[in-house]
């Protein structure tokens, strides 16, 4: 497909949709929290009688196009009681505002979301998964560490890289192809400890929205998904403390008003403490001769949010995140330190020009950095890589008559890359050398989109994003996006979408894990930006008196200019990284079925994904082509993926939860042959494995059941609960990796047999966490 085609498509859609629907009138207004006056973003405003509805924008504003007559309009929001009003529509530009009161029990919280089933049915957007911290906290978690990102892996079309990993592989995309935003600011490496935990502290985060396709035009810069994480705001009522004591970490959050009804704050921290135990263990064993001390490891996160209402029309907020992982080892002669982490600060100004025009402008800094320090006697070795971004961004919402809601805006980012900065020195100056590169690049984007409610059945969201990147060479691209929804019946809707995405910065990583030493690298004269196109179609059906929503989507995604590496590529300290790159293409297709029930004492969902994901890397030098230049499945190509999640409220004090997952085993490379290698002297005699097809084998299927129980306590003050989790309840030995071992005769040292071995990571792991709020 070529751009002229996109233009034609875009013009055609515009021509089709611009004629206003003359008989419709515009109703608009705000949805706010009753107690705090906080604008509720993403609240549902529905007209059940017309089977239509919409959601509020980032300012809590909504607009609906309704025919003349009397209509019941209902507003709802997760964690709040729904509110209904009857409005008589006979003229344009009517206003109807809602104030929602907080829900009082967890059950209500879950029930309220049932309202969103109809909204989901009627939403123009497709391929979107939403999750709140409150939901995630009810579900069982590894080591009791509640993790929104890992909970997202239970949704169809989303896979983890491996057991325990918080990496997201969305519809065949890699973890570096996710646009991870925290309060609108980019987070480059959203994981701790090689991806076992995400950087999002469940107390500091309110909710997350994951877009798997049909991307709205305001998002750009990544190919495969948008992970839009929203931080919790400080409450406006009183100062409160929330926290938890867990198996491996503890959390504490303080929030409250600074100036009542004007300014609030939230400060939240989390730290692991395995290092406290390992240090103690080292101390107890320090006299033992053969004891190898365990290195120190810990991570911490700090989140902060400050909001200030300047007046009726203006609101400022400052969001920030600071997180670091530390790994240290030292003895008398040797010191090794390795630390890495993200930091982010984003200042946001929301302004209301009038009831129809809103703006949201932000200026932010985000960075990811790792440093390795190694010192021995007079010699020191230091390796640093980092990326630092300065971003200016503005978005406008303009509500027009005739059912049109325009969204337009622009953004510009200055990237500063330091790639593999190495310094090797000695105190006596006898040794000194360095390596590494610095790059500065500019990325920009501008977009316009229209959310157009054509009539009660048909709605469209179409837009165009213009993006570009400059790093010596300038790239431009047009990224058309379109999504449509058509209500076949009151309870059945059809949806379709197309999205073109560009990615200008690339993660240089050639391992299956999310390593902190992975490097972000800009597009350049010889490294062209990655591009993807995705088409998706789906059907949603509401049944069982509105209690169940079943959705089925099919998708096909093309990816161009994907990056992989030559065999044996040195990515660690290399001044000519680009010489190690191979460029190829990818494709991914599949279908996702999803049924959810959110009302009643028993709620949950069942998801099933059938998918295929492939890559192909050719090279001018056939010896360097991966898999001889033929298509091969990615490691996370998963034919079948099933997840069943159930939440049951046993009593007012006890919630039971369970999550079962099944997935086809990861595609894996294993040696098919071997030969003996003696080496020069013969002392290094060894067996050399010969690999053939890339990812030509399959590990055994992965499946496990996690169980959870939340017991509400009755403290004298505030609220508290004990959350019990059992990870892998039936102790399934899921394959983490497979290798070929050689068995030797103990007496002679001769090899007697070669044997395949499978290694698992996590057996049954029970945990308990104490959570409190006062």
């Amino acid at each position: 497909m070529r751009y002229p085609f996109y233009f034609l498509l875009f013009i055609l859609v515009l021509a089709l949709t611009l004629p206003a629907v003359a008989q419709n009138y515009t109703l608009s207004g705000m949805v706010r929290a009753a107690a705090t006056g906080e604008a509720l973003i993403g609240a549902t405003v529905a007209v059940p009688g017309l089977k239509t509805g919409t959601t509020t924008n980032e300012n809590g504003f909504y607009t609906l196009s309704l025919p003349q007559g009397s209509h019941v309009v209902q507003a709802s929001y997760i964690g709040y009681d729904a509110s209904s009003n009857t409005v008589t529509v006979s003229e344009n530009n009517l206003t109807l505002n809602f104030s929602l009161s907080p829900a009082t029990t967890e059950l209500q919280v879950v029930e309220i979301e049932a309202m969103t089933l109809r909204q989901k049915l009627n939403d123009t957007r497709m391929s979107v998964e939403t999750l709140t911290s409150k939901e995630a906290k009810l579900l069982p978690a590894l080591f009791g560490e509640v993790d929104l990102i890992k909970t997202l892996q239970l949704k169809p079309g989303v896979q983890s890289g491996g057991e325990g990993s918080s990496g997201l592989y969305v519809r065949g995309g890699g973890p570096d192809q996710n646009l991870v935003l925290l309060d609108d600011a980019l987070i480059y490496n959203p994981s701790h400890l090689f991806g076992f935990f995400s950087v999002f502290n469940s107390d500091a985060v309110k909710s997350v929205e994951l877009y798997k396709g049909g991307f709205p035009s305001q998002f750009g810069g990544r190919l495969s998904s948008v992970v839009d994480v929203e931080m919790t705001e400080g409450n406006n009522e009183r100062i409160q403390a929330t926290g938890g004591l867990g198996l491996i970490s503890s959390r504490l959050t303080l929030d409250g008003p600074i100036v009542k009804d004007k300014a609030t704050f939230l400060i939240s921290g989390r730290r692991t403490y395995v290092d406290v135990f390992t240090r103690q263990l080292n101390r107890l064993n320090e006299d033992k001769k053969d004891y190898n001390p365990i290195p120190d490891y810990y991570f911490y996160d700090l989140n902060g949010k400050f909001s200030y209402k300047l007046g009726e029309k203006d609101e400022l907020s400052l969001s920030s995140y600071w997180g670091r992982d530390f790994f240290t080892f030292r003895d008398d002669d040797f010191r090794f330190g390795f630390d890495w982490g993200n930091s982010m600060a984003n200042l946001n100004w929301r302004h209301k020009y009038n009831d129809r025009l809103y703006s949201n402008t932000s200026a932010g800094i985000t960075s990811y950095k790792y440093t390795i320090n190694n010192e021995i006697d007079i010699f020191s070795f230091k390796l640093t890589s980092d990326i630092e971004d300065y971003t200016l961004k503005t978005d406008f919402d303009l509500f027009l008559s005739g059912g049109h809601s325009l969204k337009f805006g622009a953004s510009a980012t200055r990237h500063n890359f330091t790639v593999g900065r190495l310094n090797f020195d000695s105190e006596d100056n006898s040794q000194s050398f360095g390596a590494g590169s610095k790059y500065n690049a500019t990325e920009f984007g501008a977009y316009i989109s229209d959310d157009y409610q054509v009539n009660a059945q048909l709605s469209l969201n179409y837009g165009l994003r213009f993006s570009g990147f400059n790093n010596g060479k300038t790239y431009f691209a047009l990224e058309p996006r379109i999504a449509a929804k058509y209500n076949l019946t009151e309870n059945t809707s059809l949806k379709g979408s197309f999205a073109n995405m560009m990615q200008y910065v690339h993660l240089i990583a050639n391992s299956g894990a999310s390593l902190p030493t992975d490097i972000w690298y800009p597009s350049s004269a010889s490294v062209k930006p990655q591009r993807s196109q995705q088409v998706a179609a789906g059907i949603s059906h509401l049944f069982g008196n509105g209690q169940f929503l079943v959705t089925n989507e099919v998708y096909y995604k093309w990816m161009e200019r994907q990056i992989d590496f030559r065999d044996g590529a040195n990515l660690f300290v290399n001044d000519d990284l680009e010489a190690e790159f191979l460029f190829g293409k990818g494709k991914s297709y599949g279908t996702e079925a999803y049924i959810e029930k959110i009302k009643g004492k028993t709620t949950g969902w069942v998801g099933y994904t059938l998918s295929w994901t492939y890559r192909k890397f050719n090279s001018e030098n056939p010896e360097e082509a991966i898999n001889d230049g033929k298509w091969f499945p990615t490691r996370y190509d998963r034919r079948h993926d099933i997840s069943v999640v159930l939440l049951h409220q046993l009593s007012k004090r006890i919630n039971l939860t369970g999550a079962f997952t099944y997935g086809t085993g990861n595609a894996y490379s294993l040696p098919v042959a071997r030969f003996a290698f003696q080496d020069v002297q013969g002392q290094r005699s060894s067996v050399v494995p010969v690999y053939s097809e890339r990812n030509g084998f399959r590990l055994e299927p992965n499946h496990r059941l996690d169980l959870g129980l939340v017991l509400k306590l009755k403290p004298k003050r505030g609220a508290a609960d004990l959350t019990f989790s059992v990870y892998n309840a039936y102790n399934r030995r899921n394959p983490y990796f497979v290798y070929f071992d050689q068995l030797e005769d103990e007496a002679t040292g001769q090899i007697t047999k070669f044997q395949g071995k499978q290694v698992s990571l996590f057996p049954t792991i029970p945990s308990v966490t104490y959570n409190f709020k006062f």
Partner: protein
Amino acid sequence: MNRKLLSYFIVPLLLLTACDLEKDIEVALPAHTSQLVVECYLQPGKTYKLTVTESVSYFDAPQSPFVTDAEVYITHNGRRIKLNYQPHTYQSAGKYYTHTSTEVMRGKPGDIYGLEVTDGKGRKVTGFTKVLPVVPIEEVEWKFNEKEKAYLLTTYQDDPNVANYYRFVTHIDSVGTKPDRDFTTSDNLTNGKRTSIGSAYDYARNDTIIVSLYHIEKQYYDFLNSVDDAQDANGNPFGQPSRIKSSVQGGFGIFTNLAYQRKTVVLH
């Protein structure tokens, strides 16, 4: 380096999650068409000798598969020197050769040698090597700390005019033992510099250390690294599988020459 770092993290995690996490499995491998494997290191002043074996399916019985009908020729300046099939083992080093000649290699830096191996199944392996000059070890130093442990510092001068590759090996007491340290490096970051290779505080007083600095061809450097990568990938969940970068065509293996200097120091 990445893999080492990673293992630091994975070990405590595995400890944390208790034992019994490994089990034997059966893996059905596709049929493998066996290929010739050659290993030949020409060394000025030494006779021509090499080993010819063949690759086997991974789970085949573990004996060494000699290729008895392999014919081996080394070519130099238009001459074809035949190496005869005479398998024998050097007991001291535990190393075996399958083909030898009584002729001594007299190559000088810049000379090019060729290799030709054929067998009864119609398989053919060829390769070339260019004799490299020795890069001298300028200095071997050591320093003891308070705990009577010493680090070792070996210094050499890199030639700025060409891309150079090195293999650095140390043995304790005898070269007949397993190397104490063994790694390859290039002058990518140190071109033209007087370069030192250091160690940790690994040595005791009166240790005898034999330091060998091999000046190696790029094809040998690539082969050694690809062998290391392939071996690492078997058993490393994060490793990418690596193709063996042989210096020969038509099979697996290495045909190169050895230009090295060796120094022995006793750490008094």
